[in-house]
């Protein structure tokens, strides 16, 4: 395990491994999305109160979960980068940021679209919505900081600290619906009790979540591979690749 971790820290090893994994991850993503959408939009029954409108959760909930998950990944990468000075940690973190920002944006937009007919408003400043909006700003701040600092090492360190400071927001987002009175409802799936959802509705939701995970994996590897090439362009192995015309 330790050895594997060290190997993965080598950009060349990562580049080759990711190149092999990307098609697999891509196809798994596609299969899971198709299964999840079919289950969610066609097989799952309508909701007793919301009717068909609830089906937006098949996008909204996975996007929201991913927005938290990706930020945690970035914070862990930040810690690894600061402690072990691993190049790959910074590459993974900076390649993740735009994907996380996209998921956060998607969660906010789909939530807003659902909120208008259900709650009666597009937006309200309750603790859940506000903290999720702050998460979007954290992602954007991370990306801005990254590109504002020219020196890669300084940028990596500054971004790692930002990711670590911002990670405090993650439990706030998750527990906001329990700690305070919010307009947003409590957790349906991620809670101590069993999920408050019919199984036929829940399974497609979990499939959609799994597909989001694989989608993240696919896009992350693609982005990180480009980043590796860009950063290692002066090394022998990248020049060899370029000579081979790959």
């Amino acid at each position: 395990m330790w050895l594997w971790f060290h190997k993965l820290g080598s950009p060349k090893y990562f580049y080759t491994l990711a190149g092999k994994l990307i098609p697999w991850f891509g196809w798994i993503t596609l299969l899971l999305v198709l299964a999840g959408l079919y289950g969610g939009l066609i097989l799952a029954p309508t909701d007793y109160q919301q009717g068909e409108s609830y089906r937006i959760i098949y996008i909204h909930v996975p996007a929201a979960w991913m927005s938290l998950f990706i930020y945690i990944v970035m914070a862990i990468c930040g810690a690894i980068g600061l402690i072990w000075k691993m190049k790959m940690a910074d590459i993974i973190a900076s390649s993740s940021a735009p994907i996380g920002a996209a998921f956060t944006f998607l969660a906010l937009v789909t939530g807003s679209l659902w909120g208008k007919p259900m709650w009666g408003t597009w937006w309200t400043w309750d603790a859940r919505l506000t903290s999720e909006l702050i998460l979007l700003f954290l992602y954007l701040g991370f990306m801005g900081l990254q590109s504002a600092i020219v020196d890669r090492r300084t940028a990596a360190n500054a971004c790692a600290v930002l990711a670590l400071v911002g990670v405090v927001n993650i439990p706030i987002i998750h527990y906001s619906v329990e700690w305070w009175n919010t307009l947003h409802q409590g957790s349906t799936v991620m809670r101590m009790d069993k999920p408050a959802m019919d199984t036929r509705m829940l399974i497609p939701l979990l499939l959609m979540w799994l597909s989001s995970q694989f989608y993240y994996g696919t896009v992350l590897m693609m982005r990180a591979r480009n980043e590796v090439l860009d950063r290692e362009r002066d090394t022998g192995w990248v020049k060899e690749l370029a000579m081979e015309g790959k």
Partner: protein, 154 residues
């Protein structure tokens, strides 16, 4: 995998990171505790009846629409209903169109002011959705069971 690094300088950096997390965590904790009143999106009917809600100020009240209290005016868009947290009730007056999910027994969040008679005059009423999702048959089954329970009590 070794979680604690072997080298002293790495251990030091790990310590600094943990310190940073603890520091930021506690300061954010203190700030949210200090803001606790304002972090809540709404007051419960009990808090309003006990006078904890601000007077002559706009605030939100959240609770269930008490069953059997919704009265609509025939000539205007006025709606009258009571919001309850099962312990205390507050009378709410609203003029306007209600969201689709508004119904008796449903959670709502209303924004407005208390008038001198203790009636909450709302300028906006939002429906609060709960976290349960189920097919209509299951929803009906629960309602029937509740009705049965209520009739048994009587």
């Amino acid at each position: 995998m070794r979680i604690i690094p072997k080298h002293a300088h790495r251990r030091k950096r790990l310590g600094l990171i943990l310190l940073l997390l603890a520091g930021v965590g506690t300061s954010v904790g203190f700030v949210t505790m200090a803001l606790n009143e304002n972090m809540n999106h709404f007051y419960s009917p009990t808090e309003v009846v006990d006078g904890k809600a601000p007077k002559n100020h706009t605030f939100r009240i959240g609770g269930m629409v008490r069953t059997g209290t919704v009265k609509r005016s025939n000539s205007s868009l006025d709606v009258n209903f009571e919001v309850t947290d099962t312990a205390k009730n507050v009378q709410v007056l609203y003029t306007g169109i209600l969201p689709d999910l508004f119904r008796e027994g449903q959670g709502v969040v209303a924004q407005g002011k208390l008038n001198d008679d203790g009636i909450f005059v709302a300028s906006q009423v939002l429906a609060k959705h709960d976290e349960t999702y189920m097919p209509p048959e299951a929803g009906q089954a629960i309602k029937d069971a509740q009705k049965l329970k209520a009739s048994l009590k009587e």
